[in-house]
Assembly symmetry: C2
Homo-oligomer: 388 residues x 2
Amino acid sequence: MRVPKGFKAAGVQSGIKKEGLDLALIYSEVSCIAVGAFTSNKVKAAPVLYSKKVINRGKAKAIVANSGCANACTGKEGLANAKRMAELTARLLGILPQEVLVASTGVIGERLPIEKVAQALPRAVEELSTDGFLKAAEAIMTTDTVPKICWDTVKVDGEEGVILGIAKGAGMINPNLATMLCFILTDLKIPLPELKQTFKEALGLSFNAITVDGEQSTNDSVFLLANGLKGLVPPHYQAKFKEALVEVMRELAFQIVKDAEGATMVVRVIVGGGKNLKEAKKVAHRVANSLLVKTALFGRDPNWGRIMAALGDSGVPIRENRVSLKINGIPVFEKGIPVPYKEKLQRTFLESKEIYIEIDIGRGNSHFEVLTCDLSCDYVKINSQYTT
Amino acid sequence: MRVPKGFKAAGVQSGIKKEGLDLALIYSEVSCIAVGAFTSNKVKAAPVLYSKKVINRGKAKAIVANSGCANACTGKEGLANAKRMAELTARLLGILPQEVLVASTGVIGERLPIEKVAQALPRAVEELSTDGFLKAAEAIMTTDTVPKICWDTVKVDGEEGVILGIAKGAGMINPNLATMLCFILTDLKIPLPELKQTFKEALGLSFNAITVDGEQSTNDSVFLLANGLKGLVPPHYQAKFKEALVEVMRELAFQIVKDAEGATMVVRVIVGGGKNLKEAKKVAHRVANSLLVKTALFGRDPNWGRIMAALGDSGVPIRENRVSLKINGIPVFEKGIPVPYKEKLQRTFLESKEIYIEIDIGRGNSHFEVLTCDLSCDYVKINSQYTT
């Protein structure tokens, strides 16, 4: 693993979850430029409300995050607890509370046991190290089965910068983020306005292009901290920087979908022929969120009619006789007419762990790709027994 | 069962499905005023395209419907087959093809075996009787486990009129209809414009207020045939007629939700405090379609935080501190603050087969109720093995 210069991390057990690590801490020796994105859900968790203010100031030095409790729908007490979490962290690190980003994930509507956080935090500070990132990634897991971590390097004028990201996903994943936390750290730096723009574009190509269940959480947060210890990225290198950032974020997005609750396959829904990007996006998301499509995929049932039903319901004025459909490269529907396919298609379904659904809606030249997964009995089992 | 005067029905086996009845026929001795509603999916099945024309003329004498094949995404051949189905029926009944409504339900993208329909139709005509409605209801079933049928009577100036309805539902049920077929027959009559209006209002209170999985089919059709053999409903009785019609349609909608694929409970999502009806509807449908809410309900997990997450994601500018939430009458969240509830709530979840979710969004006086069900492992199982 490559760790960006000046960053340390730790993951400890505070007892909020019944077992396992549940408190993550990330710290940068020097102040970082900070950008972020949050859930667009109108019901926002207390840590989201707190961290928004930090991001608005554009600077941070630390991230503290817990799993096991979302601290959402918890009223004024919840807000006080999120603030307290930042204050406790700041005091131990000798920094200001407004330099600390806070994130939580877990059950909604339950009180954050702040006393457990207070008790465990000194240990987290003590354990901060350049080897702590995997533990930090573990500490933010909920129903994730594996920690999600990924890095890339960017050569800038002889210096090699690093971009490292950790994330958690699992369920409630939908465009405009997800119950998804993602922390990206880099020792490079670009000025705030450019970083904001780059980050926004990278989001559109990564976390805003995946969906597990069409749900959107109260807690989604993505933070990007750039401490610049490897220098400022000059303008003519910014495209390269963006490329690496997109790479890291797309890889984390892929890991999230691959590890989605109960998923047995990764599905790429690739929509072409949109009149504009908005149309292609709409169709891709509608198909990727269709329960009937996802359950058919789980059953390896080449029931492509459900894809047609879903795209017809996308709100885009589609004309059936202009639509073509391929699954793993095999044409099944061409401009309004079904193509005989059965055996080939059934074979690819049984053999593949990755399915490509290519849809051409025949209205223009825009395209968009959404990453999703199938919907299995395990998804239902996991989500029917979450709090009890 | 009460059957409206002049109507007969039959259900026979044509062999489109591997087993069971799959061809339904309904016939009225005299011409009926006909109104209807169809899927708003842009991908419309051939029978929908055909029947729309019939409904546009406002008159019909017969309905022919098959299960086992949707005749959707079947190109020109599909359209020819739908037309042929009407023509065959018309010839046998000695009426005009444009007096025959056609409906299909089943797998999308497969060719309708019209020769099987042709072979079975004479038998259906032969078996037409006033006792045939249950068999007709059976013949339109797909993954339904029970036939859906219901009737009511209306006294009009001493004469007693009858409204009888049959329906199929099971999956792909969402506002703006569903893979839902519903045929309503009455021996009363109101002039076409008034009948259209009454029907539209009844739809909004019945089939457009239920959801199983947020999917919308290519084949949804609701027909209402009024033959008037018991006379014209005078204006001052029309409210009474509407009441009975709503009663029949709501009962069928309830039967559909109760028999939804894999469902183990009926859930009423009752949203109050909307600024207007649109808002209340939006919130009710968003919550009723939330996978995480539905899986929690299946697990009898009182995880009400998911209701909050869903309503925050409805697009309505909700303020958390104005929202209150009750489940089966038990307050769990009051104006932004969680109410301790656990035991009581867990008990009601374990004891009830019907769950009432009451949401007050604190923005006004409009309210709307949506009927839905939980999402079980069986839903996934049923839908992962549909065509194979």
